[in-house]
């Protein structure tokens, strides 16, 4: 790693903060996707379909 | 009352109109055809979607599927309908007369004068009372008076007889008869019997709860 000079703390915390937020953003996006997919699968497993998909109600 | 044609011949048609709230489908699709001078009574259990159907016809709620059209009315002529819902739109702090006057001005008037309309619904003695003091039935009567001060061809009434006494039930019958005589259309959701002048004036549509 190169020497970041006297303000290393600021630089490192800036990059760390960005990394943290980006990671949280990605994590949240994936988590949300996973959760929604699970709920969808759950519902379909229970035999609930959309009108057009299922036999006429 | 003898029939007198006042409104242009107007009819309401709906094909496979599916109503719903917030994406929730309510009941089955309905087909409607309401001819000039006739009434349609909506019936059905609580939560069947009567209010929702009326709101859809009023253009407030979007239909989920299907469509409806009002034949014989040019949108440029101005608003075509009166909606009379569960909420009376009566302002406390204004007197009964001021309330009605406001609606006469905002809806364009052209019908009965305010004092006459109040007399019709039996509120003439209370014209100067603060409308916030009205009893439930009196508030309803004031809401009905609004229909009289500005004539419009289509009335959408949601439980017009709610909170009314026996006399009030007869009043609603008379008001609807008057509107039909003038060639107007009435669509009313109701749990009570509404007695109209002729037997063939009204058809009934019973909504069911979702299948």
């Amino acid at each position: 790693m190169i020497d970041l000079g006297p303000h290393a703390l600021f630089i490192v915390s800036a990059y760390c903060g960005v990394a943290l937020v980006v990671a949280a953003l990605i994590g949240w996006t994936l988590l949300d996707a996973r959760r929604t997919e699970r709920r969808l699968a759950d519902l379909e497993a229970r035999g609930i379909r959309r009108r057009s998909a299922g036999p006429a109600a | 009352m003898s029939p007198r044609q006042v409104f242009p011949a107007l009819s309401l048609h709906a094909q496979a109109l599916q109503c719903g709230r917030g994406g929730t489908v309510l009941g089955r699709p309905v087909d409607l055809a309401v001819a000039p001078g006739t009434a349609l009574l909506l019936r059905g259990p609580n939560g069947a979607g009567k209010t929702t159907l009326l709101l859809t016809l009023a253009g407030v709620v979007e239909p989920l599927e299907g469509n409806f059209a009002l034949r014989g009315w040019d949108p440029d002529e101005g608003p075509v309908l009166h909606f009379c819902g569960h909420r009376n739109a009566v302002k406390p702090r204004l007197s009964v007369r001021e309330n009605l006057q406001f609606w006469a001005q905002v809806n364009g008037g052209g019908g009965l004068a305010v004092p006459q309309a109040l007399e019709q619904v039996g509120l003439d003695m209370l014209a100067n009372l603060d409308a916030g003091y009205l009893s439930a039935g009196q508030g309803r009567r004031l809401a009905l008076a609004r229909l009289l001060v500005s004539p419009r061809p289509l009335w959408l009434l949601d439980e017009p007889t709610a909170a009314l006494d026996r006399d009030g039930h007869a009043l609603v019958g008379r008001l609807i008869d008057g509107q039909l005589d003038a060639g107007g259309l009435v669509i009313a959701a109701t749990h009570d019997a509404i007695a109209l002048a002729g037997p063939g004036r009204a058809t009934t549509l019973t909504l069911e709860r979702a299948p």
């Binding site: 290393a8 994936l30 | 917030g22 253009g59």
Partner: protein, 257 residues
């Protein structure tokens, strides 16, 4: 038939079939992995440049490296809003469900990037200007932008009928879009009135290439990150809507049983 108005449920027209939510998910799903790869690659290259292959600035020293995260996030904070505003237009004029979805998915992303721009900016400000916060025009207007984003997010959470909500929020987004330039302008004008414009600013064009390269790479990296996340969130949102309507049907089905 003389005059009549037909009120009908919104129809899917032929030309927006590829933008039909279901179709959209189907044809954009294969794009996701390439986008992820692209983003990762760009970040790797960009970070390498940023730390190992770029010089110190003659005036700011190593703190210039903050720029490689600051400027892209600041740019995205505005770009995302523009995306939202275009979607809002689509949602109001064409009533397209996909526009609603895009609008909703972008809001948290935009808010995050704006927060990051503020965060990195104030960390940069401390060593260069000596304070974390200055009521400077750019900083201030970015802060205001953050509040607008947060307001939009709060609105989305407050509406539970998302269809109804979408059009209302679209109105607000567009009002905001018109207003943001005014805010920017007024804030610039305001701070120059009260305090001498003495703060140092590196002008883009005058930057040496060795700084520009990592900046551009990082810039694309963040933009691709946004596109990837946006796409994924849109897929999720489309699925969520399906889930919600199915759940409602489930409740109704139970009601008959």
């Amino acid at each position: 038939m003389s005059a009549m108005t037909v009120v009908s449920a919104p129809k899917q027209r032929w030309w927006n079939r590829i933008a039909h939510p279901g179709q959209f998910v189907a044809w954009t799903r294969p794009l996701l992995w390439p986008l992820v790869l692209c983003t990762a690659l760009l970040f790797a290259v960009g970070l390498w440049f940023a730390f190992f292959n770029s010089p110190q600035d003659y005036q700011m020293g190593d703190t210039v490296r903050i720029m490689y995260v600051h400027v892209p996030t600041a740019w995205l904070s505005q770009f995302v809003y523009a995306t939202m505003a275009v979607s809002a237009l689509g949602s109001l004029v064409w009533r397209h469900p996909l526009a609603d979805v895009a609008m909703k998915a972008a809001a948290p992303l935009g808010a995050s990037f704006t927060a990051l721009a503020l965060f990195t900016g104030s960390l940069w400000g401390r060593p260069t200007w000596g304070t974390f916060w200055e009521w400077d025009g750019r900083m201030t207007s970015t802060l205001v932008l953050l509040f607008i984003y947060l307001g939009i997010i709060a609105l989305w959470r407050a509406f539970d009928d998302q269809l109804r909500g979408a059009r209302v929020i679209a109105v607000f987004t567009l009002v905001g879009a018109v207003n943001i330039p005014i805010i920017k302008f007024s804030v610039d004008w305001w701070s120059t009135l009260h305090q001498p414009a003495s703060v140092f600013r590196a002008d883009g064009p005058r930057m040496p290439g060795s700084i520009l390269t990592p900046l551009f790479v990082m810039f694309f990296a963040f933009t691709f990150l946004f596109i990837t996340l946006q796409l994924k969130s849109m897929h999720t949102e489309i699925k969520r809507r399906r889930v919600m309507s199915l759940e409602r049907r489930a409740v109704q089905g139970a009601a008959d049983a």
